[in-house]
Structures are given as structure tokens and as C-alpha cells.
């Protein structure tokens, strides 16, 4: 699976939140889409909408797609991500890729359990207060607590706080 799109997405989202943007876009790939949906489930972002090269109108953000994907427009589709802020602070301020193309990091269920409780497991540092970790499992991209619920380990994508 292409890791670089994930690391690039992390870097871009972090830059966007630091620039206090309300809306930003990511490449329209399946991997990035799954990560974005996992983040949406975790409440880190407000909306995920597949749109064109220009930002979709605000009312379109409530939908998943501005227009159906066709072979004609699939090449210029992008994922438009609505960013969240609370108390003048970004909800998601730090995104740190764990795996990178040159070095994939995987974690088993016991390791994830330790990390989720804040303890170190191997090279994986424990989670801090309010920190999230996204895992790519065979049940899709999940947040660490979802992965533990579903008892599945996998590739550690990134940690977000």
C-alpha cells in the first residue's frame, strides 16, 4: 500500500491546522479516504467530501460527494477535509506519521493494548492525554481503541494529538 500518501496527508493536515484553515484538500486515494473517515469518526475533522479541484460550496460539505465520480472526472477528484477548532485552538494540532515508506511499523494486539494505556511497547511510545493513534488493519483504518475493540493489530499509520 502506498505509505507516502499517508505521510504526506499527515504533513499537509498539520500545516493546514497551523495555518488555521477551515477547509483543505487531500489527494483522492482509498487509503487517505479511509484515514480521513477514521479521523472523522474520532471527531478530529468536521467533514470529508469528495469534490473537484475547487473547494465545494459550504452546503455541499454536508454530503459525501458533490457529484458522482465518473471516468471523466476521477482524475481531478480531491478529498475536501473540514478542519475543526475549539477555543481558538485546532482540535488536531500535531500529526506524526509512525510508519513511513522506508520503515513500516506494525503492532500486535497486546502491544496496542499497552500503548493505549499509556505504556511503551517496543519502539512505540505510550499515548498521552488526548492522543490518538490510527492503525491500518484488515478491518480497515481504525483508531487504536476501535482496533482493540475489534481485536485486530496492524500497521501503525500515525499518531494525532
Amino acid at each position: 500500500m502506498p505509505m507516502h500518501s499517508i505521510t504526506n496527508a499527515c504533513a499537509h493536515l498539520q500545516n493546514a491546522t497551523r495555518a488555521r484553515l477551515g477547509l483543505t484538500s487531500l489527494p483522492n486515494t482509498k487509503y487517505v479516504l479511509r484515514l480521513a473517515l477514521a479521523m472523522h469518526r474520532a471527531g478530529l475533522i468536521s467533514s470529508v467530501t469528495r469534490g473537484g479541484p475547487t473547494p465545494p460550496p459550504p452546503e455541499a460539505l454536508l454530503t459525501t460527494e458533490t457529484e458522482p465520480v465518473t471516468t471523466a472526472n476521477v482524475a481531478n477528484r480531491r478529498l475536501w477535509i473540514g478542519l475543526k477548532y475549539w477555543n481558538n485552538q485546532p482540535v488536531m494540532s500535531k500529526l506524526q506519521p509512525v510508519s513511513k515508506p522506508s520503515r513500516r511499523v506494525t503492532a500486535t494486539i497486546p502491544e496496542l493494548a499497552k500503548v493505549a494505556r499509556g505504556f511503551r511497547a517496543g519502539h512505540l511510545l505510550g499515548l498521552n492525554v488526548g492522543e490518538l493513534m490510527f492503525i491500518s488493519t484488515d478491518k480497515g483504518v481504525l483508531e487504536i481503541r476501535e482496533a482493540l475493540e475489534k481485536k485486530s493489530g496492524g500497521l501503525v499509520l500515525c499518531r494525532v494529538s
Partner: protein, 489 residues
């Protein structure tokens, strides 16, 4: 100037006469410096060789009592010679009438009587036998009769009485009165109303009635006399002016003297011992009490110096609460400001204050005086008190990091009973703030000042889990408070 001085003078003058015949007794006071050899005899030498002064021979050969015939070869007193010598040299000084008159100008009759009694109390024979020049270590370096004021040695005599403590600046009426009083000294007459009036020339029974009711002959007589008086006055003034005598009027010098020397206080022109104006009294009327430090009864006398009053106003804490705070000096540095006049050293102090239950403050202050810097820093710390976030009132929320310059402080929450496994400055901060379980790492620079600042920053930058949950739209439950009925300690 003491009364006893003439007696002392006589004693010294007589003693001198015995020692050196050249010095004739005189009523005018004198001082005779002691020769260096005389003083050197009492000094302790720190050299093996005798000092130059000691090797010098006296310019006068000693006059022995035997040579004077006062004692014989067996060392017994030669009473006859002794008596003669005593009468000649040591008898009481006889003041001439002129001298007595001079003395009576200085001394009251009682004082002169005391002087004479003092003279009479000294037996001249004792002076002959026992009187000698002092050579003890405490001898004055000169012979002094204390009758004359010597500016370098003696204190300045206070000739005038002390200033009137009740004197105040003259108001308009007092000033006018004073001006008239001054002008009255000059016999001009017209200005100040010292001239006689027409009323002064009538018999006493008519002086209180108006001029119209006087009988004709009385009125004529009075007018005649008054005219003559006026004529006489005018003539006298003209004559005075011609002669240039006193009373010819106020001269410029008088006016200048009035401006420069007349007192503007109601002290009746009292002369001061000092050329400086008298200091203001301790309690200036009209000002006394206005600047008194108001003591708040709510303080219960705990702050007599008023050092907490400013902080009390700013923080709303009572003095008792401020005294109950835990304060601790964390850092004391000596800093210096390089100016063109040189380095100016100051003390820089960082203090921590806390109530041991979640309120914490850090204060920093500088002063050239370490004590002042310490007090200021302490008060600043109390001023800066603010609540810090604590998890279960014992530790912090998660791991936090603070960074100031090259100093990074990493604080980590720890389970109950872990204790404070931190360095001493962070320990004091935690103790003041009421954090009981904590571990800390200072992986990089351990600069004391920056460590304290970074710790403060880390403690203040703890994220609130509730806020994070609200931001993400999640519900947050602390399971430690759910399991075991919440009794997790």
C-alpha cells in the same frame, strides 16, 4: 564652656610656671604643645633599635626638687623652702579688678563664686608636691585650659537658644505688625503713628469726647500746642537730615538688612546657631496625620510595616492567608549591568509561592540589595498566584513538556504514592502547588532559572481532557472514578 574651667586654667598655668620659668602666668588662656619626645615616651616600640625620638636628648635639663632646695639630701622636705616656693609659684591666682570685671561679663555671680570656691578647695602645697605634667597614655596631646574655644578640637558653641518649635510663617496681620515694629525703630514719626495727635494735648477728661464738644479755650490751647509740636518736629527732622545722624530715616542698608536678616517666622527674630533654616517639626501643623499609614483592622496587626497592603489590594487575599502561603526561594543569581560608570551588580531572585492546594505562583525580582530583591520576588510570587491543573489533586494530566531556551523540562503524571521524584527546584514548586506524585526529566540544559520557568510553563500548559472531548464531540468518563465505587486511593 564649663564653669570649672578657670580653676583648671589656673592649675595648668601654675604647673607650667613650675616646669618652665619662661612661661609666665597670664590671665589670657594659652596652649603649649607637648614636645614630641614627651609623647613618644609612652609609645610602644616595635623595633629592636631605639627610635630616633628616644635617642634625642631633651633640650632642657631637668630641674630637680633638690636643686630648688625643696628637699634636702636625705630626701626630706625642706619645709621653709617648700612654703616659700608654694606661696611664690603655686598660690591662688589673684585677679585684678579689671580681670574680675571681664570675668563678670562671662560668668554670673554664682558661677564666679563657684570658681573661687574651687580655687580655695585646692591646697597649693599639694600642687607643689604632687602637681606634675601628665605622662600617662591618656594624656591630651596639648595643654588645654578649656577657656577658649578651639574650632578643630571643640564642638561649636551653641550661643543662641534652640529654635522655637511653635514658630510658624507669619500671616498678613503678623507681617504688618512686624513691619511696623521694625519701622518704629527709626525715629521718623509720620509713617508709623508714633507722632502725637491733637487729642494728646487736651486734658484727660476731654480725650474720650469728640473735638466739637470741647470748650473753646481748651480747643484753642490744644491747637496752639499741637501746631507748636508739629513745627518742632519738622525742624528736628530737617536738622537730623542735615546732620546725617541716626534717625534721619530708613537707609538702603536698613532695608537690605530687613530683607536678608529679618525672620519670616513668628519667632521674634530669634537667631539660629546654624546658617541653615531650621528643619520642619516632626509634626507639621495641617499636614500631621495626613500621610500616616492607615492600618487596616482586618489585618489584626499582622502587617505593621504595610508590606502586604499592595498585594492585598491586588489579590484580595488577607494578610493571614498570605502569611500562611508556602514560599521558597528557588534561584538567586548575581547579575550585572555594564554601564559607562562600571558594572552595577544586582541580585536576581526567583520565588515560588503556593497554598499547597492547587494555587501556585512564581515571582522574579531584581535589586541591587539582595534583601529587597528577595522581598519583591516573594510578593511578586504571591501576586502571580493562579490555579494549576491537577489530576485527582495529586498529580498532573499526562505528560507535559516545557521549554525555555535550551532547557527542556518533561513532567510525567505518576500513580498515587509515587512521590516527587524530581530535582530540588521542581520539588519545591510541586510542594508549594500541592502536587504529590510526579516525575520529571530535564534532559538538556539544567540552568536553574530556565528550569523553574520551563516547569512553570509545563504546569500551566496542561491540556484539559474535558476541553479535548468537547472539541472532538465526545463524551468523557474517568473510569478511575467508576471502578471500585470511586474509592481508588
Amino acid at each position: 564652656m564649663s564653669v570649672a574651667r578657670p580653676a583648671a586654667r589656673r592649675l595648668f598655668v601654675s604647673g607650667c610656671a613650675a616646669a618652665a620659668a619662661a612661661a609666665s602666668p597670664s590671665p589670657i588662656c594659652r596652649q603649649i604643645p607637648i614636645r614630641p619626645a614627651f609623647a613618644a615616651a609612652t609609645k610602644t616600640s616595635f623595633h629592636t633599635s631605639s627610635s630616633l625620638e628616644a635617642r634625642k636628648r631633651s633640650r632642657f635639663s631637668s630641674v630637680h626638687a633638690r636643686d630648688l632646695g625643696l628637699i634636702n639630701d636625705q630626701g626630706e622636705f625642706n619645709e621653709q623652702e617648700l612654703q616659700k616656693f608654694t606661696e611664690q609659684k603655686m598660690g591662688p591666682v589673684k585677679f585684678s579688678p579689671e580681670e574680675m570685671e571681664e570675668l563678670s561679663k562671662i560668668y554670673t555671680p554664682e558661677q564666679i563664686a563657684a570658681i573661687e570656691a574651687g580655687d580655695a578647695a585646692i591646697n597649693p602645697r599639694d600642687l607643689t608636691i604632687q602637681g606634675r605634667l601628665r605622662d600617662d597614655p591618656y594624656v591630651l596631646p596639648y595643654l588645654d585650659d578649656f577657656a577658649e574655644h578651639q574650632p578643630i578640637i571643640d564642638k561649636r558653641p551653641q550661643r543662641n537658644p534652640p529654635p522655637d518649635p511653635h514658630a510658624k510663617f507669619m500671616d498678613l496681620d503678623e507681617f504688618t505688625e512686624d513691619l511696623i515694629k521694625w519701622a518704629d525703630k527709626f525715629r521718623v514719626g509720620e509713617v508709623t503713628g508714633t507722632m502725637k495727635r491733637l487729642v494728646d494735648f487736651v486734658p484727660e477728661e476731654y480725650q474720650s469726647v469728640a473735638e466739637g464738644q470741647w470748650p473753646g479755650e481748651v480747643r484753642d490751647e490744644a491747637h496752639k500746642q499741637f501746631k507748636a509740636y508739629l513745627q518742632q518736629t519738622v525742624e528736628r527732622q530737617a536738622k537730623d537730615k542735615l546732620d546725617g545722624q541716626e534717625g534721619a530715616g530708613i537707609t538702603d542698608a536698613d532695608v537690605l538688612q530687613y530683607i536678608l536678616e529679618r525672620s519670616i517666622m513668628t519667632d521674634d527674630g530669634l537667631k539660629s546657631n546654624s546658617s541653615l533654616a531650621p528643619a520642619l517639626p516632626r509634626k507639621v501643623p495641617g499636614v500631621a496625620g495626613l500621610y500616616a499609614r492607615s492600618v487596616d483592622p482586618a489585618d489584626e496587626g499582622l502587617d505593621p510595616l504595610g508590606i502586604y497592603q499592595d498585594v492585598k489590594k491586588r489579590t484580595g487575599l488577607t494578610v493571614q492567608q498570605m502569611l500562611d502561603l508556602r514560599t521558597k526561594r528557588l534561584v538567586h543569581r548575581f547579575v550585572s549591568n555594564q554601564t559607562r560608570l562600571g558594572k552595577i551588580q544586582s541580585s536576581s531572585v526567583i520565588y515560588v509561592a503556593g497554598n499547597g492546594n492547587g494555587m501556585l505562583g512564581i515571582g522574579m525580582a531584581k535589586s541591587t540589595e539582595p534583601v529587597i530583591a528577595t522581598n519583591k520576588a516573594r510578593l511578586m510570587a504571591i501576586r502571580n498566584l493562579q490555579p494549576i491543573r491537577r489530576y485527582e489533586n495529586r498529580t498532573i494530566y499526562g505528560n507535559v513538556k516545557g521549554k525555555v531556551s535550551g532547557t527542556v523540562v518533561e513532567l510525567s503524571a505518576r500513580p498515587p504514592g509515587f512521590g516527587l521524584r524530581v530535582q530540588h527546584r521542581i520539588f519545591e514548586i510541586c510542594r508549594a502547588g500541592g502536587i504529590h506524585d510526579l516525575s520529571a526529566r530535564v534532559p538538556r540544559s539544567r540552568n536553574p532559572m530556565n528550569t523553574v520557568k520551563a516547569t512553570w510553563e509545563a504546569l500551566c500548559n496542561q491540556k484539559d481532557p474535558e476541553e479535548i472531548a468537547v472539541g472532538r464531540g465526545k463524551k468523557l468518563v474517568d473510569v478511575r472514578k467508576v471502578y471500585y465505587g470511586g474509592s481508588v486511593y
